[in-house]
């Protein structure tokens, strides 16, 4: 193992059965030059300390499980090369989230926000599968495609300066998702979603720090989605005076 170099990992540990508050634990392990941060965590789990808990699965940056704070910045650990860091690497659970254990955070709060934006196709009348697909031009697809690339890794929530101060804020990923359906040519539910967007904790809580887009590993650009949604939600509101639509339930 001559190609291995030693690195020190300072990892946040928290076990609600034993610890009052989170603490840190230090591990010095040999790493390979091509390792990602996740490889080091798995090495610690497998060979050094079986009590370390973290989530991971696909190790190819698409399942979204392994978001953590690496040296104070939210990162997908399977995509973050160790070679970008010095001899000491700090790994902690995502900020802005309650911590269940070690590097594992509470996702139920997000699941509620996720559901609140109605992330499914809403139509007055649905087609039967036998009638074939809806027509959608490449340009219409392009309009929302970018916002459909979110892997729900939660990095944007950990980076956002608003999330930690305004618990009701829907947050970047959820708004980007709702906006994705609003822009989809097959969807007719934008009036319903815009109502959600205009409520307390909706799109207008965003202060446009752009941090969510800075940390997004999939270039979804949630900040763009939120600020487009701000505009469209107000257009929708204004339109409701000019031509009061018969709001579907």
């Amino acid at each position: 193992m001559s190609d291995r170099q030693k690195k020190t990992f300072v990892i946040t540990r928290f076990d609600p059965d034993k610890d009052e508050v989170p603490k840190t634990q230090t591990y010095e392990i040999p790493v390979r030059p091509d390792w990602k941060v996740l490889d080091a965590l798995n090495f610690i789990k497998d060979e050094v300390d079986g009590t370390l808990s973290h989530r991971w699965s696909c190790r190819m940056a698409v399942c979204g499980s392994c978001g953590m704070m690496v040296n104070g910045e939210p990162k997908l650990t399977c995509k973050t090369a160790l070679s970008d860091y010095g001899d000491t690497v700090e790994v902690g659970p995502l900020s802005n989230f309650p911590v269940i254990r070690d590097l594992v955070v509470e996702l139920e709060g997000f699941m509620e926000k996720f559901k609140a934006v109605k992330p499914w196709i809403l139509r007055a009348k649905e087609k039967a599968p036998e009638e074939g697909v809806y027509r959608q031009s490449p340009a219409e697809l392009e309009a929302f495609k970018q916002f459909s690339m979110c892997i729900n890794c939660m990095l944007c929530y950990a980076a956002c300066p608003v999330v930690g101060n305004e618990p009701d804020y829907l947050g970047p990923a959820a708004i980007a998702l709702g906006h994705r359906y609003n822009l989809d040519s097959r969807d007719e539910g934008d009036a319903e979603r815009n109502q959600v967007f205009r409520e307390e904790g909706g799109v207008y809580s965003c202060s446009y720090a752009n941090e969510c887009s800075e940390v997004c590993p999939k270039n979804v650009d949630p900040a763009a989605a939120i600020n487009q949604a701000k505009f469209l939600a107000v257009v929708d509101w204004a339109k409701s005076f000019v031509s009061p639509r018969s709001r579907k339930k």
Partner: protein
């Protein structure tokens, strides 16, 4: 230790089934470049406030007659006012740059009603042109080009 966030941040409406450690704020944001830029952007609103107040004074002086106007101009020659104007100009340029050229373009929805958005590649140059035109117009007015 890290600053604590609102304890309800990202928590479910019903408390979780096990005790959790409270959420913490993202660590030491002000130390990072892009967060500094965001804070500065927010802080620049003070220039908008102060300049609006000054504008009210200008209108007031205009209404009060030529003597009041001359008086105001004399006050404006004070170095503190001059310094303020330089700072405010820097603030406005910074705000305009960040807002119009970094954030505004991409936050345009792909379509508003029946009108599609022009391609993203042409939006910033369009905005730049609009900005240059507006600046030129203001200069012309200040120069007295229009009667």
């Amino acid at each position: 230790m890290a600053r604590l966030a609102d304890p309800r941040a990202m928590s479910p409406s019903r408390p979780g089934r096990t005790r959790t450690a409270p959420p913490v704020m993202p660590p030491l944001f002000p130390a990072r470049g892009r967060y500094r830029s965001y804070m500065l952007f927010g802080a620049c609103c003070v220039f908008f406030l102060l300049s609006s107040l000054l504008f009210l004074r200008v209108v007031d002086a205009l209404a009060a007659g030529p003597e009041a106007w001359d008086d105001l101009l004399r006050q404006f020659r004070h170095p503190l006012y001059l310094a303020y104007n330089v700072a405010a100009l820097a603030g406005f340029v910074f705000t305009a740059r960040r807002f119009f050229f970094q954030l505004f373009a991409k936050s345009q929805p792909p379509r508003i009603g029946p009108l599609p958005r022009p391609p993203l590649a042409v939006l910033p140059p369009l905005l730049g042109a609009a900005w240059v035109a507006a600046t030129a117009l203001i200069f012309c007015i200040l120069w007295g080009a229009f009667p």
